[in-house]
Symmetry: C2
Subunit: 361 residues, 2 copies
Amino acid sequence: MMADRANPIRFGILGCAAIARKVSRAIALAPNATVVAVGSRSVDKAQRFIADNGIPPATRAHGSYEAVLDDPAVDAVYVPLPTSLHVRWAVAAAEHGKHVLLEKPTALCAADLDRILEACGSQGVQFMDSTMWMHHPRTARMRDLLSDPNRFGQLKALHSIFTFCGDTDFLQNDIRVKPDLDALGALGDLGWYCIRSVLWAADYELPKTAIAHHGCVKNQAGVILSCGATLVWDDGKVATFHCSFLSNLTMELCVMGTRGTLHLSDFVVPFEETPVQFKFSTDTKELDTGWQPLPSEHVISTDLPQEALMIQEFSRLAGSIRDSGSKPDEKWPIITRKTQLVLDAVKESIETGFEPVNVTD
Amino acid sequence: MMADRANPIRFGILGCAAIARKVSRAIALAPNATVVAVGSRSVDKAQRFIADNGIPPATRAHGSYEAVLDDPAVDAVYVPLPTSLHVRWAVAAAEHGKHVLLEKPTALCAADLDRILEACGSQGVQFMDSTMWMHHPRTARMRDLLSDPNRFGQLKALHSIFTFCGDTDFLQNDIRVKPDLDALGALGDLGWYCIRSVLWAADYELPKTAIAHHGCVKNQAGVILSCGATLVWDDGKVATFHCSFLSNLTMELCVMGTRGTLHLSDFVVPFEETPVQFKFSTDTKELDTGWQPLPSEHVISTDLPQEALMIQEFSRLAGSIRDSGSKPDEKWPIITRKTQLVLDAVKESIETGFEPVNVTD
């Protein structure tokens, strides 16, 4: 038996963060998932969230996160709480036998993440971080090309950018600029995606060393508003990324191999839900009058947006555990942990004045 | 009186490098320039170059570079010789009263470049480096947008990439991998364009510090095959670039301001001669279902390729000096020198183990 429309994975949402709006819509769109409970620090807030976001009125509004975990009708929780609360609530969810879909950045450091992953592992529940672009069929198509020695060759270098321009209110009040809430700032919120894109392109081979770039900007509380880093592998591969709350919305990914180049300008969130595109070129020559061949544009259409595909995949795995006694898919926690390890190394490099830091497991 | 079809600037070409083919075509296309002499170390080679490249058969073939400089019919020289020969021949050309269009990288270091610029200055001849994309009308259009506070805001960050994949013959035999010829390797050949794009976007404000990226690759002779760097300004602007002979042809430029983002994937050599494009977005928001507004695509058509526009501009300036007693335009040597200063700082950072190096004038 599988999770499907008649027997969906029943989600509880912990907290009413802005991103929970997008994910609750995704749960509604996914054919094998449904929202059954929303928990907030007040019942009123949970009720308002349900009413405002077109969530079925029968959904239970709980006045605490605990109540969601105690709700026997909840199979899985989506946790969009501030990063500083992740260990407490993700561990508690696992201990209540709930599958855990955790917002990124997953933890303030790998040691914290390990507590979450250990709880999920020992309870046999599925863990996945909420990195939506991983689940777009475009991502799989691009990965196929990067794996093709005749079209891409050997990975040599890549660059990833994710920025948006926070307004005054954001830069003063958002949880992502508060040292007691999302202490990793732009590195955790945006750099997470850049680091993930780097690992994805490198087929999840950890770099040996991370060196943060000079020019890191912090706010008065010491939270990172803008930073970048170089990541280096033993075989000579090199990656750089830049993330910032201070520049207009930008999401660039350029991956270079000996024979091919992949480029897209909307790798985190596609320009439009469908169709989406990317550019790829192979064995490109520069002639006197231009390029030969021109980069080719690949177009991919989807029935569901990437966040709904993420929910669908998570629910497929959770359903397989719930209904067929399967084991959790280890791929997702492994990828999460590698992302967190690189993030930790970049942060340490920033804190030590841009010195090289070994990425250690 | 101006240089025009009836009274063109008469070029002598010093050497028969591959790039001289493209520039001799550009001289033929420019309405105010013509080739009158080609000099090589052998007359045969010069004659062959003239015959092979559709240069008018009346063009004089000289068996030495000196003979071109002694040719009274030559107004200006184009110098595509290896970088190590630039001081000698560019200075000699200036001392013979010839205007100097010099291939990049212009010199092995700023001190060498200064000898060239001093010779051109004291002789009152026009100096320009051969950085073709500077002369494309697309470049001016993009610069207008970057200067618009309502569309771009304040420059915060940019990233520039120029790579191509040299084949085995290139990596063993090309002058650009030889320490006695083009000792700056990929940094001089490709990084030159990246650094120029950074300075161009920053309105030629020199960065304060250059820090080369770990992961620099050199050949056995110590010539740079792949490298990158971060450039930092006092006001918090930051730029990164990557250049390499080891990855498929890639030419990315992404410039981020508080309000706008500029992006193009063919900044050095357009995909096709005409039309050319770039993308620009302003005040972009991420909605649950995509971007608002989408980046707009700007399309620019030209009558002449950018290298011919470069020749036309150089010839206009040289003609104004020759025919109207004007002074050389100082803009071009100033830009060249800033590019060289940053390049020198990056090189020093590589040589000192990726330490920060002040960019000093």
